[in-house]
């Protein structure tokens, strides 16, 4: 699987010059800091740095961008944990247990867990990419709308899991999100649900909506408090406890590995990085013996979400390098950087520049170690957020979110979306609806509609079509097993108990 000659050449490329390494630390730092502002995205940071790319050689440029990407993948977890602000869709799952841990004064451990899970997830993904880059690419090219539809359906089962205490409210919230996700132009150009505003033709701006639903709504609830953590003794930023959190991540190797593998696989799909963390969280909750602990500050929730989020980078890089297809905004900007050096990603690139591909993968593995060190220092500083009085924090975060939303959308749609969804989010919290279900629906609305429509067009409405798609069929079986298992377990336990009773 590994071309040893190319691997040796890659090592040579990385060890004969210090220049490629010069950009790693700045890249990671930019990636980490950009997500401190709610509304700013990795693709925006990458795009801002594009003018620097022509001044770097191709390998250095690739390393710089992967370093930013790596930093950003962990960076989103920091506001998600400390402020319940998921800087992007990729960090939504991290908020579920991260913020409750922070509120309980366990912010040090939560940040440590996220850092270790993120580093481990990235390492697993890049090791997989190193060993199986070509098979992964060959697999990715076989994935079409039916497979995407199964993934989307799988993601939607999460809505049912996030139902909270009331199933009907959870499902209604999920369906509401799904419909919100389809606002805008249809595939045939019909404007739906835009109230006549041209600004909504592209759909509801996703990041401002998520920031509004989660962050602003939560900040409204905090206005009456002095600090995020009420107890003075729990507000300390403690390096020892951050390290303990990092160690704790490896106490759940199954959760970590499952998240990393799931993230790597989902990451190869377009838009996959956004739902990888949610699917991984859902699977971790399903597999747990005590699923009721999830959402109350369970370390496994953070590990599952962060390892999948981080490893989705490896999957999306596989699709980018081997097929030349971007799976999200960040990899699309990377593809532009390829063009600046007159290089086109795809099978020919993999064949002709295998040494470069290996060099990027090896440098990314090294970046994981560097991220662990820099990330530790960064969270040590970021942890001081819990010491800031909320009367300062609330207006500053809200104002940053509004400015970030405007910067992202470049029009009033961003800030207005944020404000409207902040109120909706607060009301949903008040009436005990799971806000996360709306977010899942929002994320999956367009994806599901597109995949459903293309599957319908390919099949001509014939259900037997699925039998001609072995990968989709396999995924469907896995999906069915994953849905049925929680119901089968108690039934099996009941049968075993009754048998035991008969024997006794």
């Amino acid at each position: 699987m590994i071309d040893l000659t190319a691997l040796a050449s890659a090592v040579h490329l990385l060890t004969t010059s210090w220049q490629p390494w010069m950009v790693v630390i700045p890249g990671i730092l930019i990636g980490l800091t950009v997500h401190a502002v709610p509304g700013l995205t990795t693709s925006m940071a990458l795009a801002i740095c594009l003018p620097l790319i022509p001044y770097m050689d191709f390998l250095q440029a690739l390393i710089f961008m992967t370093a930013m990407y790596a930093g950003a993948l962990f960076g989103v977890a920091i506001p998600a944990i400390l402020l319940n602000v998921p800087g992007s869709a990729a960090a939504v799952g991290t908020t579920f247990d991260g913020f409750p841990m922070a509120q309980a004064g366990r912010h040090n451990e939560a940040l440590g867990l996220a850092l270790a899970a993120s580093c481990a997830g990235q390492a697993v993904a890049y090791l997989l990419l190193l060993c199986f880059a070509e098979p992964i690419a060959a697999f990715a090219i076989k994935l079409g709308p039916p497979e995407m539809l199964v993934v989307a359906l799988w993601g939607m089962t999460l809505i049912a899991r996030l139902r909270g205490r009331h199933l009907a409210r959870g499902l209604l919230a999920g369906v509401f999100g799904l419909l919100l996700g389809t606002v805008g132009l249809s595939v045939r150009g019909a404007a739906r649900g835009t109230f006549g505003f041209d600004l909504l033709l592209d759909g509801i701006p996703l990041v401002p909506a998520i920031v509004g639903l989660f962050a602003a709504a939560e900040l409204f609830n905090l206005v009456g408090h002095d600090y995020i953590v009420d107890d003075l003794t729990r507000r300390r930023v403690d390096a020892g406890r951050i390290l303990a959190g990092m160690r704790d991540a490896f106490r759940y190797p199954g959760t970590l590995l499952r998240g990393a593998l799931l993230g790597s696989c989902i990451g190869i799909l377009p838009g996959g990085h956004a739902i990888a963390n949610l699917l991984s969280y859902s699977e971790a909750q399903r597999a747990a013996k005590d699923p009721e602990k999830f959402g109350t500050g369970d370390p496994r929730g953070i590990i599952a979400a962060e390892s999948a989020n981080a490893s989705s980078e490896g999957g999306s890089m596989a699709t980018l390098l081997a097929l030349g297809i971007p799976t999200g905004g960040a990899t699309a900007v990377m593809l532009v950087a390829f063009g600046m050096h007159n290089i086109t990603g795809g099978p020919a690139f993999m064949r002709d520049h295998t040494d470069l591909v290996y060099a990027v993968i090896l440098s990314s593995l090294a970046q994981v170690a560097i991220l662990a060190v820099i990330g530790f220092g960064f969270i040590f500083v970021a942890g001081f957020v819990v010491k800031v009085r909320l009367r300062f924090l609330v207006p500053i975060v809200l104002a940053l979110a509004v400015i970030g939303s405007f910067a992202l959308a470049q029009n009033m749609a961003g800030p207005i979306t944020l404000a409207v969804f902040a109120v909706i989010g607060w009301l949903m919290q008040r009436f005990d609806y799971p806000v996360a279900a709306v977010v899942v629906g929002l994320l999956l609305g367009r994806l599901t509609e597109g995949a459903l429509l293309r599957t319908y067009q390919m099949s001509g409405g014939d259900f037997g079509f699925i039998a001609t798609r072995p990968i989709a069929l396999g995924m469907l079986v896995l999906f069915a097993v994953s849905v049925a298992l929680p119901y089968l377990r108690p039934a099996r336990a009941h049968v075993a108990a009754s048998r035991q009773g008969r024997i006794v």
């Binding site: 009331h166 499902l171 649900g193 009456g224 009367r391």
Partner: protein, 171 residues
């Protein structure tokens, strides 16, 4: 916002209506139905309605289930302990409503007037609203925030923001 529960007593039974929740669920369902109708009006074909139509029907069914949960028949002694939500702490409703109103004003005014001035006024107003009374802090925090935020977005990130006094720096 206190939990507003409306009740009607018939004999020994009391019918309890959770009207705020019913209103919220109705608003969600109404939007879903309106959205379906809007999509139907825009284009009546499979491409447009393949997801929206079944999802809207599902929303309507779920709404009926939720609405049914908003109306409960309880015996009189049960009713006193039957509040569906924790009441907000005293003064919280005003603080939350004020924060929402200030956010709405900021969102509308900033792109029209300029983020530099409106951000300063917003932070100042929020600090005052949340109880800060030290003059130095009231001046320093909004000034520092505006200087740093506007410099980062407008100059470093080259993101054109509508500004009143510093317009033209980025672009």
């Amino acid at each position: 916002m206190a939990a507003r529960i409306f009740k009607f007593t018939i004999g020994s039974r009391t019918i309890v209506f959770d009207l705020p929740h019913l209103a919220f669920a109705t608003a969600i369902a109404a939007w879903c139905i309106w959205f379906c109708q809007d999509a139907w009006r825009a284009q009546r074909d499979v491409e447009n309605l393949i997801l929206i139509l079944p999802a809207s029907l599902l929303a309507a069914i779920l709404y009926v289930c939720v609405a049914a949960g908003c109306i409960r028949i309880v015996s009189a002694p049960e009713h006193d302990a039957a509040s569906p939500r924790h009441p907000l702490r005293p003064g919280m409703a005003t603080k939350i409503a004020g924060t929402m109103a200030l956010l709405a004003a900021y969102v509308i005014a900033a792109p029209l007037i300029g983020f530099d001035v409106v951000s300063f006024v917003y932070i100042l107003a929020m600090l005052l609203f949340l109880g800060e009374r030290r003059i130095l802090v009231l001046l320093l925090v909004p000034t520092l925030f505006c200087a740093i935020a506007i410099y980062c977005f407008d100059t470093i990130l080259a993101t054109p923001l509508p500004l009143l006094f510093f317009a033209g720096d980025a672009s």
